[in-house]
């Protein structure tokens, strides 16, 4: 049974733009589904709809076999605990007025996973897991680098031990060297806890590097979906071929 499933998700924004048109995929435990698409492809909408941060107009989202498309209250809270997101901009996704320790404490408090006396120990543990020194707990986001902020976002996302992490262009705003370090972190966390990823990026190489399966999105429609080697190695859809060719033209001499 797939851990997370999307069935024919559609979403139209007021104003008529059809951001998603019948998008479906299935994500197994411990695997990564890479979603590659350019700006306007609907990938960010997909990230939000799949996590119920945005309501779909049609279609279903299933988690652990249960339809959570219209879930609310306790069922929704339970889903939130097990499915988390890391956003693109490292600074904007953190409350500028909160210190790191309060940012990390929030998921623990909201889901009642730790009592106040334990918070310090738990937040330090989270910082260690994302390879940050515990001393950072007292800092504000503006005092951290882009890479450090993103690690804090990741720490916040894994605080509840989720089964699914949606990474919405999570490395796109990072410098090249920091980017590969964060990718290593993502891989390490996946090995440690068998987390599943929906890894969204406009960068084909990033998707190729991180994914077991690949979904190619264009204008809200799934062009191609399948195992990585099949989709990127022997693409059938012309758009996929275009993307693969563009990436190849950048390759090393």
């Amino acid at each position: 049974m797939p851990l997370l499933e999307a069935r024919a998700l559609s979403k139209r924004y007021p104003g008529g733009v059809l951001a998603l048109d019948g998008v479906s995929f299935a994500l197994e435990t411990g695997r990564t589904l890479g979603v590659v698409g350019e700006s306007g492809s609907g990938k960010s909408t997909l990230a939000r709809v799949v996590l119920r941060l945005l309501e779909p107009d049609a279609g279903q989202v299933l988690f652990e076999g249960r339809d959570i498309t219209r879930a609310s209250g306790r069922a929704l809270a339970a889903f939130r605990r097990k499915a988390q997101i890391v956003f693109q901009d490292p600074f904007l996704s953190l409350d500028p007025r909160q210190r790191v320790r309060d940012i990390l404490a929030e998921p623990l408090l909201v889901h009642r996973l730790a009592a106040r006396p334990e918070l310090r120990r738990r937040t330090e543990e989270l910082l260690r897991r994302v390879e940050l020194p515990p001393g950072l707990a007292g800092r504000f986001p503006r005092e951290l680098s882009g890479g450090e902020c993103q690690r804090v976002s990741i720490a916040r996302a894994i605080a509840t031990d989720p089964g699914v992490l949606v990474c919405d262009e999570a490395v796109s705003s990072l410098d090249a060297i920091v980017r590969v370090q964060i990718l290593d972190l993502f891989l390490r966390l996946q090995r440690e806890k068998n987390v599943s990823y929906v890894f969204i990026s406009h960068d084909l190489e990033v998707v190729r590097h991180m994914s077991d399966d690949v979904l190619v999105l264009k204008d809200g429609v799934v062009c191609e979906i399948g195992p990585r080697e099949a989709v990127l190695g022997a693409p059938t859809h012309p758009y996929t071929r275009e993307l693969v060719a563009a990436a190849a033209s950048k390759a090393l001499v």
Binding site: R80, R81, Q84, L92, S93, D95, V110, R156
Partner: protein, 262 residues
């Protein structure tokens, strides 16, 4: 505060500091002096013994003004506090929830804004009767609309920011999001509005007390000191000038600080 201050903000701060000190300390130290009637020095112009002169009953004006500070400023601060509370709640809820709640709350705000404040206040006082607490209540209950609009605008713009979306993704509920994330970030402009509000409240209280509808004698407030002064305007200019000056300076100082905060 900005780095390139003119003399304005600094002087304003000094003045407001003096007023605050008077509000706190004067009633403790000088009640006796404020009430003591020196029949030897009735309607005395400013002198060494009485720096700001005396009133028809021989009471020292400086002492009375200082004690009046507590009332006038106190009323201003509490009234503004009340209006902030109401305004933040209304604006925050309207901005965050949107939909019919937003329309209803903003409709209420617009209706309240239609009433000319002063007349509304006078009407309510006419019903409730004069007195300090009624003044506080009525000023607070009629001055929250500006704050509500400000808070709503801030919340609307903040609501779409990624860290708010992240809080929702973490599973935080609306109350937590409003309290922990939205309002602390939204309160900046509200602070400016609050400082200005104190100035307005002081002016309003002075006005009401001047009309006899606010603080009643013998409790000194700047407004009713002004009323007393009016009766003896021809012979005792200091009884009108100094209360008026004090009110003016306080309002100016608050405006100056508010501009600087902006």
């Amino acid at each position: 505060m900005t780095r390139n201050k003119g003399a304005g903000p600094t002087l304003s701060l000094i003045w407001l500091g003096l007023v605050a000190a008077a509000a706190v300390a004067a009633p403790l130290l000088w009640t006796e002096s404020a009430a003591r009637m020196d029949f030897a020095a009735v309607l005395a112009p400013p002198s060494a013994a009485h720096p700001l002169g005396t009133d028809p009953l021989g009471r020292d004006l400086l002492a009375r003004l200082a004690c009046g500070a507590r009332v006038s400023v106190g009323v201003g601060v509490v009234a503004v506090g009340l209006s902030l509370l109401i305004g933040t709640f209304v604006g925050g809820a309207a901005g965050y929830f949107g939909g019919w709640r937003d329309r209803a709350l903003m409709g209420l705000t617009d209706v309240m804004l239609c009433f000319p404040t002063l007349f509304l206040i006078l009407a309510v006082i006419a019903v409730l009767g004069p007195g300090i607490w009624n003044v506080v209540l009525v000023i607070g209950a009629t001055s929250w609309m500006g704050t509500a609009r400000l808070v709503r605008a801030e919340v609307l713009s903040l609501r779409e920011r990624e860290f708010i979306l992240a809080a929702r993704a973490v599973g935080a509920g609306p109350i937590r999001i409003l309290r922990t994330h939205l309002l602390p970030n939204a309160l900046g402009p509200v602070l400016v509005s609050a400082v200005l509000g104190v100035a307005t409240a002081v002016l309003l209280e002075s006005g009401l007390s001047f009309l006899g509808l606010g603080v009643q004698p013998p409790t000194p407030s700047w407004g009713n000191l002004l009323t007393d002064g009016k009766a003896t305007l021809g012979v005792a200019w200091w009884l009108t000038l100094f209360p008026g000056l004090v009110i003016l300076l306080t309002a100016l100082a608050a405006n100056c600080i508010a501009e600087d905060l902006r």
